[in-house]
Amino acid sequence: MRRRLSPEPERTEINVSPLIDLVFILLIFFIVATSFVNEVGITPKHKDTASSSSNLEEPISFDLPSSGQLLQDGMVIGLEQVAPLVRSNSSDKPRSVLVRVSPGARAGLATQVMDQAMLAGAQAVKLSPLTQ
């Protein structure tokens, strides 16, 4: 009787603080985990199905021999000449580019050639290995 009349009302409540702690930790974990990988890169387009009509014209091919040079039609060219070559050849229609690499060629150079070709607006860029 005395307890019931006392100003402190007797209440049974679930203590939610540990729950909130746990939920906050999970929340912070998922916030941090959402942005782990932010990758930047090039996606060489390839149009095998849609290019049946444009297959008639030959793609501009660049060769990367194991010597580390960059060849176009047998001539040694520089990386900065790739974009003008693709552009001059594609005055009417964007053309496809073929990058042929020999074992021993640098992947960095191959990537940069593809990058330059895409910068020049090549419609398809294909990387193909040369077997020797």
Binding site: L27, I31, A33, E39, V40, H46, A105, A107, D115
Partner: protein, 154 residues
Amino acid sequence: MHQPLRKYIPATITQSYFQMRARNRLIESTDTDAINVSPLIDVVFILLIFFIVSATFVTLPGIEVNRPQAVTGKALEKNAVIFALSGDNEIKYAGSTVQLEEVPGLVEQASKDKGKPVVIQVDQWADASILAKIVALARKKSSDVSIATRKPRA
């Protein structure tokens, strides 16, 4: 049976109006001194569910490569199957070295017929013919194969 009731009623009646008000105010004040956390928990739960649903867990190759520079580099899909080709021409996937022949199987296994894109982290000094072979093999299983490059300087 009526005895306890009769005893109780006079006690409440004799309580003055002011006494009752004072007691009520006291009870009210003890009710409100704890902050109501239910809306907070609701909001936190909604945020938690949002982040769980939007979280994508990717398996990283486990090595850091020296990416080539590129001008046309664009942000790639985060939820991708990532391979790495190291400078000494080893193909890495999920922390271990894999063989070239294993690549299509791994792509298929990882994307679980959802058609996940493939990202190849290639070292500048790696062999380009191996890169070309990985790209060709990955294309058999995924329509979207990208080569990771360095972030362009802003």
